[in-house]
Symmetry: C2
Subunit: 305 residues, 2 copies
DNA sequence: AGCCATATGTGAGAAAAACTCACATACAGA
DNA sequence: TCTGTATGTGAGTTTTTCTCACATATGGCT
């Protein structure tokens, strides 16, 4: 039940940092100490353990074989402590749920609805972080990831919220200028330069297939890094963009964009993917958020805001 | 490459001991501190981590769920450090090779030969510990175990040194009294009370089988806990004992015992079983010892001493 | 209910540990 | 040989940790 007395843990920390970083000076910087402090701690540790851990070659500290093995174990132990601390901070009472999604989803759909979310679920403490990657759920410190993706049936830590629907959008001024009437089903889109994103080059071809249009006839125009810029460009009248309905519904509602050809469902789903080791509190919060999002997405369009 | 700053490790040690032992007072005893010191450290840690780890129920400290998870990780980390320290102490330069064998083997064969061993291999630092169990090789802090056992072909960390040979031995005075001539092959052993050990009850039946004697005819007399006492009893003339040749060769040489019926090989071998994670130095030392033992055991009997 | 044994919390000051500074030492490479 | 970089150390300071003594809380026992 009882354990052998541990060596001085302060000394151990200095030793481990030195071993890991390869020099006492680097360890001193890393621990915000002077090299003298490190040097003393290492000496003290060697004396306490009764064996040298480094061999001194002039101004160079080289780990002995046993010292290396010992240092590796210490690193392992400290990594465990460090990870435990992070977990504790993530799971502690009152800690916010940390969520990621792409900047465009955050800016164009979530942020406009946060006031309503806050008023309907005032207890829910959330922290949104934008992350353009498709899979950031397992990331350090991220509790869950909201993303359009094709669901993985094997993943039990995901919640499917809505079907992705994509469609071309255009500023009304540009539509008028081009002679496109809202609601027109014409294929005139083919004659226009199509704005697109570099992060999702398959969007236009995908849409074309859904509408039975030969994708080779598409004339791709300017590309943008992210959907967010693409939609700004569309609103500014730079051309025809393609986007998930969710991200343009506000713009359409307010008349900044129109979607003359409507939207078509894709195989992707708006999915909430959570890490597997969520604490009980976080899991509860996440469920509440999922419920709210699901309810919100089920509302008829005009009242979604 | 760099790591998050660790929490105060002194505080962590106090917390972990408290969590593990279930009380601050117990932790204080365990760490040779006062309960006040523990109490302060825990408070400091909770303040540093920004979350309570215990819920206070009057005079009782109860871990919160997150605190429990955190404590478990800390215990794991400290266990690693503790184990690493033990390993370091075992493998450090100049550390003796720690060996075990039974008390009888140690007293009746090894100790009489240690002077010769020390003079022939003066560099070899050994520490012999008696242990009556058959398998002590994986034991904490034990490098190797010297034992009569039936070898396990799958074990690569064993070295077979000699075949076990067992036979009945008797004090010459008693032999004379009973009318037994040395070298006699008679079955008169059957009429005598046979001294035996409780730790190895199969020795006499085994021998009887080797000589084609019906083991039911054996009349077991007084039993002793260990071979060591058995042999003392035999030398004192209490009856006929059975023992490995190795353990009585000195006594036979000096005339304290005789072996009228000789010795017969069994399936057991004198085997040096080592732990699997020996350091390079220890492995080298063990090889030297094994070589020496093997050479010694290969010598003709009179010069083995 | 009252009391006692047990366990934790805390203020003040003592003790110990850890740290810094400044200088010393040691080497590698220009 | 000189210079830049890295570790070692004596002396003194700062910070942390600990103890003591007392306070507080409570669970079980009579």
């Amino acid at each position: 039940m009882t354990r052998d007395p541990l060596p001085s843990l302060t000394a151990l920390r200095a030793f481990e940092a030195t071993a890991r970083l390869g020099s006492a000076s680097a360890a001193a910087d890393s621990l915000h100490l002077t090299h003298g402090a490190i040097s003393r701690q290492i000496k003290a540790l060697e004396s306490e353990l009764g064996t040298p851990l480094f061999t001194r070659h002039g101004r160079r500290l080289v780990l002995s074989a046993e010292g290396q093995a010992f240092a590796d174990r210490c690193t392992q132990a400290f990594d465990i402590i460090s990870a435990a601390r992070r977990t504790l901070e993530r799971t502690r009472e009152g800690a916010p749920l940390v969520l990621t999604c792409t900047g465009s989803l955050l800016a164009r759909w979530l942020i406009p609805r946060l006031p309503r979310l806050n008023s309907e679920l005032p207890e829910l403490r959330l922290h949104w972080v934008s992350d353009e990657r498709e899979s950031a759920a397992a990331e350090q410190d991220i509790d869950a990831h909201l993303v359009f993706t094709e669901p993985n049936p094997a993943n039990t830590h995901q919640r499917i919220l809505a079907t992705e629907r994509i469609g071309p959008v255009i500023a009304p001024q540009l539509a008028a200028q081009l002679g496109l009437a809202a609601g027109s089903a014409s294929h005139s889109v083919l004659n226009q330069p199509l704005l697109h994103t570099l992060s999702r080059p398959q969007a236009w071809p995908q849409w074309a297939r859904l509408y039975g249009i030969d994708e080779k006839e598409l004339q791709l125009g300017q590309g943008f890094e992210h959907l967010y810029y693409l939609l700004e460009a569309a609103e500014a009248g730079l051309g025809i963009a393609i986007a998930p309905q969710l991200l343009v519904e506000d713009a359409i509602e307010s008349g900044r964009l129109i979607a003359p050809w409507g939207f078509a469902a894709t195989d992707a789903r708006l999915t909430l993917i959570s890490r597997e080791d969520l604490g009980a509190t976080a899991q509860r919060q996440l469920n509440e958020l999922g419920n709210w999002l699901e309810a919100m997405l089920a509302l008829p369009l005009p009242s979604r805001r």
